[in-house]
């Protein structure tokens, strides 16, 4: 708790942090609001997209992409400590190297919880506005998967910051991983193995909402088609949690063996 308080002192007056969080908070309802205004030919109606229970899978999928912003913020927060040499000063003043990593992990955890709660509230608001029946809590497990995904992605951002140390390079690496690494892995080694890789597994926690429908249609057309992404979402969530733990442990050992 003390570590979290220390981190709060650092970020509460950090303008970039506030700016990113405001953009994130405004962008997401704007996207949802835009969806509510546009009628997509051939796509489900607004009430099907934004009403219960589909709101949970649709919202978490969209939020998964918008998570790019707070992820960049996490990279910046870690790299700032290195470029300001405050990480070094924190150790000089009495924090252990484990404390340094844990304090950042607590930020990541706090941020993930806050964003997930925001998503939950946003889902409820849009769900109640656009629902015509449908169970409120059906598909709510998507929110939990979104939390695990957010925690994993932010922990990966933390690891990148710790390893690369330079803000601009770390952010570029994070953006590259966020958008392209999964696709490159899929193209290189095929979907079957790629789905087990950390970035792909994290991305698949909040899959494209129409993925199952498209898959079903394709299987109707070609019954011999192989079903690739068939990992149980709960198993996926468990493996992603293990990957997240790995990112944090790796961050610690990178930091432990390094001169500050």
């Amino acid at each position: 708790m003390e570590l979290l308080k220390i981190e709060f002192l650092k970020i509460k007056h950090y303008t970039v942090f506030r700016a990113f969080m405001i953009i994130f908070a405004v962008l997401l309802p704007l996207v949802l609001f835009s969806i509510s205004l546009i009628k997509f030919p051939g796509f489900p109606s607004q009430s099907q997209i934004l009403g219960f229970p589909n709101i949970w899978s649709n919202l978490t999928y969209i939020a998964g992409w918008v998570n790019l912003l707070p992820g960049i913020l996490v990279v910046a927060l870690v790299c700032n400590e290195i470029s300001f040499k405050t990480q070094k000063q924190n150790v000089i003043d009495g924090l252990s190297r484990l404390d340094v990593i844990l304090s950042k992990f607590y930020v990541v955890l706090g941020l993930s919880i806050a964003i997930t709660l925001y998503i939950f509230v946003l889902g409820l608001v849009f769900g109640f506005i656009y629902s015509r029946g449908g169970s409120v809590f059906s598909g709510i497990d998507n929110v939990l998967f979104f939390f695990i995904q957010t925690l994993g992605v932010f922990s990966l951002a933390l690891l990148l910051g710790v390893i690369i140390r330079i803000s601009s390079l770390s952010i570029l690496a994070y953006i590259f991983i966020f958008f392209f690494l999964g696709i490159i892995i899929e193209e290189s080694i095929g979907d079957v193995i790629a789905q087990w890789m950390p970035t792909n597994m994290l991305a698949d926690l909040t899959p494209f909402p129409l993925y199952d429908d498209i898959n079903a249609m394709q299987r109707m057309a070609d019954p011999t088609m192989e079903v690739v992404k068939d990992i149980n979402p709960w198993v996926r969530a468990l493996i992603c949690s293990i990957y997240t733990g790995g990112f944090i442990v790796l961050s610690f050992f990178t930091m432990k063996n390094r001169d500050l």
């Binding site: 308080k5 002192l9 000063q89 000089i92 009495g94 001169d259």
Partner: protein, 299 residues
């Protein structure tokens, strides 16, 4: 018998093939103002970096307060290492609040006020760190080191970037803290700084400890006296008969002689007069730390 605050045993630090520190053995007793002196690249900051946990030693060990290398030890140490490191977007008070939280300081508001006043920065307490001049940044770093009344101060080039007035103030502050019986470890390449502040000195060169002794021992052991007379040849003969004295340098105008500490200038004058020499001049030259340092480092 003073308590040992810091014990360093066979400490080494290598960067690849470069030996930045080789088998350093030092013991710092409570209440000592311990100076680490050396030219640039001698290993001063490396030594302090290892002692405050930011560098990993290649081999050897050290122990603070007899507790080994526990992270909690550092909360009892106020450190200024190299440059002042603070969050640029936070003001002085906000930055010190973070340090106070890490060090688990009680009465944070009062403590922050005390240390900011001590370094004459209280008026700028609400200014962002990024707006500070180099000297103000250095003052804030010293304030941060003083926070929570640490048992030990570790200061690396503490007067770096300060104007002459600021240098005098900070030196005076350090001397006042030393008078309270606090242990202070100061690394500097400024000989006068070490000479004014410290009572024990370690001289480092290329990562090797060349000498460690009390400052008095280093500066007073070899008192020099410059003397002249109309008959320099006779003077040389007389000096040769002084027990423990020898001629360090001889010119056609004067002799520079080294005498034991027990001989005062008056003793030498009297001795020469009793041996039939009237001295034209007699000038006592206390060998400075600079002379000693250069002598040791050039060996």
């Amino acid at each position: 018998m003073s308590e040992t605050i810091l014990k360093i045993e066979n400490l080494c630090k290598n960067y690849g093939n470069l030996k930045a520190l080789t088998n350093l053995n030092v013991e710092v007793k409570s209440g000592t103002v311990f100076g680490i002196l050396g030219p640039n690249g001698s290993g001063k900051t490396t030594t302090l970096g290892i002692l405050v946990g930011v560098l990993n030693a290649s081999s050897g060990s050290f122990s603070w307060f007899g507790n080994g290398q526990e992270d909690a030890n550092r909360r009892r140490i106020g450190t200024l290492l190299e440059t002042p490191n603070f969050y640029p977007y936070l003001n002085a008070v906000q930055n010190l609040e973070i340090v106070a939280k890490i060090k688990r300081v009680e009465n944070v508001t009062d403590e922050i006020q005390r240390v900011l006043q001590a370094v004459d920065l209280y008026a700028r307490r609400l200014s962002e760190f990024r707006s500070f001049s180099l000297g103000m940044k250095q003052r804030l770093a010293i304030a941060s080191a003083l926070l929570g009344e640490p048992d030990v101060l570790v200061l690396d080039e503490p007067t770096n970037g300060l104007d002459p007035e600021g240098i005098a103030e900070i030196r005076s502050l350090i001397i006042d803290i030393a008078k309270e019986g606090k242990t202070i470890i100061v690394a500097s390449h400024q000989l006068d700084e070490i000479e004014k502040i410290c009572n024990r000195v370690l001289i480092l060169k290329n990562g090797v400890a060349l000498k460690e002794s009390a400052l008095d021992e280093l500066t007073e052991k070899k008192r020099q006296v410059a003397i002249s007379s109309d008959d320099l040849k006779r003077l040389e003969e007389v000096v040769a008969t002084i027990n423990g004295a020898h001629i360090a340098k001889s010119t056609h105008l004067e002799l520079l002689i080294e005498v034991p500490e027990s001989y005062s200038a008056a003793d030498i004058n009297k001795f020469c007069f009793e041996n039939g020499i009237v001295l034209n001049s007699l000038k006592e030259i206390q060998k400075s730390l600079e002379d000693q340092f250069l002598e040791i480092v050039k060996k």
